[in-house]
Homo-oligomer: 189 residues x 2
């Protein structure tokens, strides 16, 4: 998506061969118009997939996901990051380890907001090793629902996440695919 | 705001004299159209306040705040909840204690995304004791900027937050003001 790749080139900060900071328009400060366009672009790609719900992971996925859900005329569901396991039958939970951040958390989804007939679009800001996205997909499958697509704003294609999701048979659409990062270097596929 | 109070009456769950769950359209599952309307309503109220930035606190404030920011044609900034103090000069931080949840965290704002000329609108989902809103206001003031308004979706008017913000001289607009909660009881001012 040219609007996004242009913005990444203009304002993104490549800090190393794996870290890209986009705090100016996505992760800390957010450009609402860009998020709206991002949502419309996801809508264009997934509009014929029979999506009934958009799922995202708190908190950087929320802004792009809410515009995507609005365009698709379906609810958005925010997957919560809990530090500890909830011991009730009311929720689905799965453990996520973030290699980039060296942290671990329980991704949580209430049973009230997903059912087996749902066709779910998962939206997230970054795809690196695919831990968060595959965790979100596990929750959808625990509910007996279908992952109808995965939409990513920024894919670090040189890391393993995209290959993992492709191998698992998911329909993945990434708006910006980065082939190489380095101090001050950002290259796209 | 009638659209919001109607929705609270229809789908909100009053669990006790202080707890209202609105997980079906705001805190876990989110209704994008309602968030858009909420944003337009905040825009109507604050459009002549010279707002230059919308600030919100992750993660339930993000969806309503991004529509508010879009309508006002300004960026949104997400205040992050950090578990530990960051010891660099790059950020403003202030400690927040949530009495309702019995937790404490450092609310964090990068110096890059606020400056002393900013007129800031703070948006949050709930106002109870006012800890989060006054903390966000402290961060704005630490940056030398101005709190031009505080917009709240659901105010629990029987708790101390609204009085605290009024006494501090802030311009507060709450879309739904709840005077009384009880098991199965929701009353508005």
């Amino acid at each position: 998506m040219k609007l996004l790749t242009d913005r990444i080139l203009r304002e993104g900060k490549a800090l190393s061969d794996s870290v890209l900071k986009v705090d100016g328009f996505l992760n800390h400060q957010v450009d609402p118009d860009l998020m709206n366009q991002v949502g419309l672009d996801f809508y264009e790609h997934f509009k014929n997939h029979g999506i009934t719900r958009v799922l995202t992971i708190e908190s950087s996925g929320i802004a792009p996901a809410v515009y995507t859900a609005q365009a698709l005329k379906v609810p958005m569901v925010i997957l919560k990051k809990q530090t500890s396991k909830i011991l009730t039958g009311q929720v689905f939970q799965t453990n996520i380890t973030s290699f980039t951040k060296g942290t671990s958390y329980e991704l949580t989804l209430s049973r009230d907001y997903i059912n087996k007939d749902d066709r779910v679009l998962i939206i997230d800001d970054f795809l690196a090793n695919g831990e968060a996205a595959t965790g979100a997909a596990r929750l959808v499958q625990m509910a007996g629902a279908t992952v109808a697509g995965i939409g990513i704003l920024i894919e670090k294609s040189f890391q393993s996440g995209r290959a993992r999701l492709d191998e698992a048979g998911f329909d993945v659409y990434s708006q910006a695919r980065i082939s190489r990062l380095g101090k001050g270097i950002i290259e796209f596929l």
